[in-house]
Amino acid sequence: MPEYDISKVFSTITLDQVVAARVPWSGVVRKGQVLRIIDLESQQAVDALFYNAHAYHERYSAQDTLVNQGAAYIGKGGRLFSNEGNVLMTVVEDTCGRHDTLAGACSCESNTVRFGHETKYMHACRENFLLEVEKYGMSKRDIVNNVNFFMNVPIMQNGELVIDDGLSAPGGFVDLRAEMDTLVVVSNCPQVNNPCNGFTPTPIRVVIGDPVSI
């Protein structure tokens, strides 16, 4: 069963917040702290971007992350690399086992291509990202291919890829340890046109704290 008693995980909690379905969130995780993202009701894709909290031009790079680990998916032990080749965060616990960083975030524009022009005027993750990164003085140019926690995007040997039903159970979580002070920007995905959240966006919970020393 997932661990609900977070006092066993964190010695000090600096933030504990429920993020409603479809909305963005951002916060800074100090070096050594852990961010726990909890999929409260199951199968909710959590799109996330990461920036060096002191120098935003250093940020998450999906291609660096994939080439450095030589594999397409992110799971426990996975390190999230920046465009400068540094590790931003490490996945230290994970109840799901499969997270995506290939497919990026939904946008109004890409939805028209994938699902038809009639889907243009629907809420999308990159709208959330844009409004959130602007709070830090950033713009569209700072939005890159992101991590999709709890999203299942299998790649076949022939190159086919689909977005499949998510594998995470209610209360499933991922723990990310910051290897540098990291600004985390989240869009709690509103997409209802593919199975990334069971076609029903649900809330998540984010907790930041200092881990209990082992």
């Binding site: 450095n68 290939l102 713009s139 569209k140």
Partner: protein
Amino acid sequence: MQIDQQMPEWYRARYNQLRDQALLAESGARPTFTPIEMTESSVLHRETIPGGWYWSTLLPRGQALRLINTSGNNGVSVGLWNADDLSERYNAGDTIKLQWTTCLTTGRVLFSDMGRVLTSIIGDSCGFSDTLAGGSTPQSNARNFGNEGLRNTRNNLRLIAGKHGMAQHDVTSCITFFSHISTQADGSFRWIDGDIRAGDHVDLRAEMNLLVAVSNCPHPLAPEKSFAPGPIEAVRWQAPAIKPDDLCRTFCEEARRGFENTDPLFV
């Protein structure tokens, strides 16, 4: 119909229909490579790019760039921007997601972050490219060759971007042609040897006015133990006029909708 107020079952049925249609297109009549004649009168500019180096060009809509792998190198990386609005650029995630495949070769298109088609792959004699792992970096050169100071695609693309007034945040994902990567069931990448031949070429037709960046560095997952990429040739040429049955414009519904987003820029 209120498309944002349907029941989950309705969205699932719609998704399954779109998925089945897309995978049928991919598994059915896959586009075949037919060389397109590039007459001398259609050639606008030729340039030889030394091993390890970079080159860029403005490529107006309708022109094509032929990259000739003269030396049989394991990889030539390409970055793309909308020349009229440099904030619009190649998006690897959208390109594979929107076409339901990582196999980007003849018949496929490359998407920007704005749901528009940057370029069509109108010919690819090699048939293999990679846009998952990205180009080489100082770190990958340190790992592969024990020397992070060797020339690399990350810095090559940053130099091109910088010379056009852009900055680090404008260099994101790239695609590397002449590279064959397979993804195993557990997600691990495997380099597949034997598919790269000297003389292979890829033709990219501009579907909007583009800034194209080319980095002649080997793929970071290629097995070579020494860093010795040879020269390649880049040719800018006038592509043939687009016919109603154009392969890239008609191959799948997703590309067709992408062109419906792109063409209005030019009316």
